[in-house]
């Protein structure tokens, strides 16, 4: 693992609390790692698991989903949907071989800029320990392709030989 690995983290933040919280961290000139790329959504309840998997497919090293604290949702119960999904997503990711450090779901209110910075800091630190996300593309493809190519060439060569002698 390279020493200067900087993880790419996708942050999906709700418009009403967490995005405002992250904004507060910015306007208060708090220092926190620049590894997070933030996407604003209207509610954490619209973050379906597909989006999280898509982030990993595209090469994210981690995904952070953040919404309003339960009870504070702008849409009354949007974040209840989030909290139901979270344990299922965590289990699914662990099962398909994605380390638990790479997915985090938190609650950050509009006044918790400092908390947001700390969460990102912690997540970057955790992901640095486990290293970059390895896309699940299997074998080193070039070597396999070469082996297959060699074996087909052998087959073709023996086939041709037989043919020409017969002819």
């Amino acid at each position: 693992m390279s020493e200067n690995f900087e993880p790419k983290i996708l942050g999906i933040l709700c418009n009403w609390c967490s995005y405002a919280g992250a904004d507060l961290a910015g306007t208060s000139r708090l220092k926190y790692p620049a590894n997070i790329r933030i996407v604003r959504v209207m509610c954490s309840g619209r973050v379906e698991p597909t989006l999280i998997l898509k982030a990993f497919q595209e090469g994210a090293d981690g995904v952070l989903v953040s919404g309003c604290h339960p009870g504070d949702c702008h849409y009354v119960d949007g974040n209840i949907k989030t909290l139901r999904r979270t344990p299922l997503i965590s289990r699914l990711l662990t099962q398909i071989g994605i380390e638990p450090e790479r997915f985090k779901q938190v609650w950050v209110s509009a006044s918790e800029g400092e908390k947001f910075g700390k969460i990102v800091e912690q997540m970057v630190e955790d992901i640095k320990k486990i290293g970059p996300y390895q896309k699940k593309t299997g074998d080193a493809l070039d070597t396999v392709a070469h082996e297959v190519y060699q074996s087909t060439k052998e087959v073709a060569a023996t086939g041709e030989e037989g043919g020409s002698h017969c002819g």
Binding site: T50, L83, R84, L92, Q95, I98, K136, T137, L141, V148
Partner: protein, 321 residues
Amino acid sequence: MANKLKLAIYWAAACGGCDVAILDTDEKILNIAEAADIVLWPIAMDFKYEDLYKMEPGSIDVCLYNGAVRTSEQEELARALRDRSNVMVAFGACASWGGIPGLANLVTREEIFNTVYKETVTTINEDDIRPATNYQGSHGELHLPKIYDRVWSLDQVVDVDYYVPGCPPTPETIWTAVEAIVTGNLPPKGSVIGGTKSLCDTCEREKTEKKITQFKRPFEIIADPKKCLLEQGLVCCGPVTRDGCGHRCTNNNMPCRGCYGPSEKVNDQGARLLNAIASIMDVKDEKSAAELAATWEDPAGTAYRFGLPKSLIFDYKKGGK
């Protein structure tokens, strides 16, 4: 004779059920035999790969390829058949999305080898012999196919024209596909031969407000044959699965296993099923959500039973060649 359709049927990482399903078309198999000349069908007839290699590109009209791609032999045959076939059909769930063999992607190849060649109590393998691609026998060196790190669906390896879903495809689905091919009345490239709606859409079970208070497995309860299975705590893949199977499972009081693959507007069957299930979990706080989620025995295995290699996490084109 010259106008007869040239048909190749090949099996890769599969159980053979798809081949049996073709025979399962009963007396219609005779119509298939009448319309088509079979040029390759390893399970039923004796053909050599050499004969296939001698064929010209485009000399096979239709290839029904069943099974996922797990070894270099299966990949080589997929490429050889693709080169020689005008229409390549991913036949059955394994070829289309990886199927049951695709669940091997949950673990690594080394873990599988460890289990099979070392850890099972009935295995005695003191020299720790593992599958190799070369073997020095008394009559010379043998070359064996390489087992890949992960399982691939057919369309991640070669270009696929049509998908025939199912584990195995029902005779009706097979017949629809064969009829389309024989009459030349083909749907647009990339079509899945099956329904367009989700299974839930056409399911006749009584649906009220869905709520899951505890996940149950099919052997634990005798389900009410009239009520929605999800409401009874069974994880049914109906909400995200394509219909067209004739509701064989749900009609027999078993939850849908998802073998017809994702329905039209679903791109990741497992993630969408997870989403659907989460939306009906009857919990309101984090602690009880975690407790309830823990009663679902195997989320990845259930949600991706037939489609793990095609899930977003694994969906890459296999390079090479």
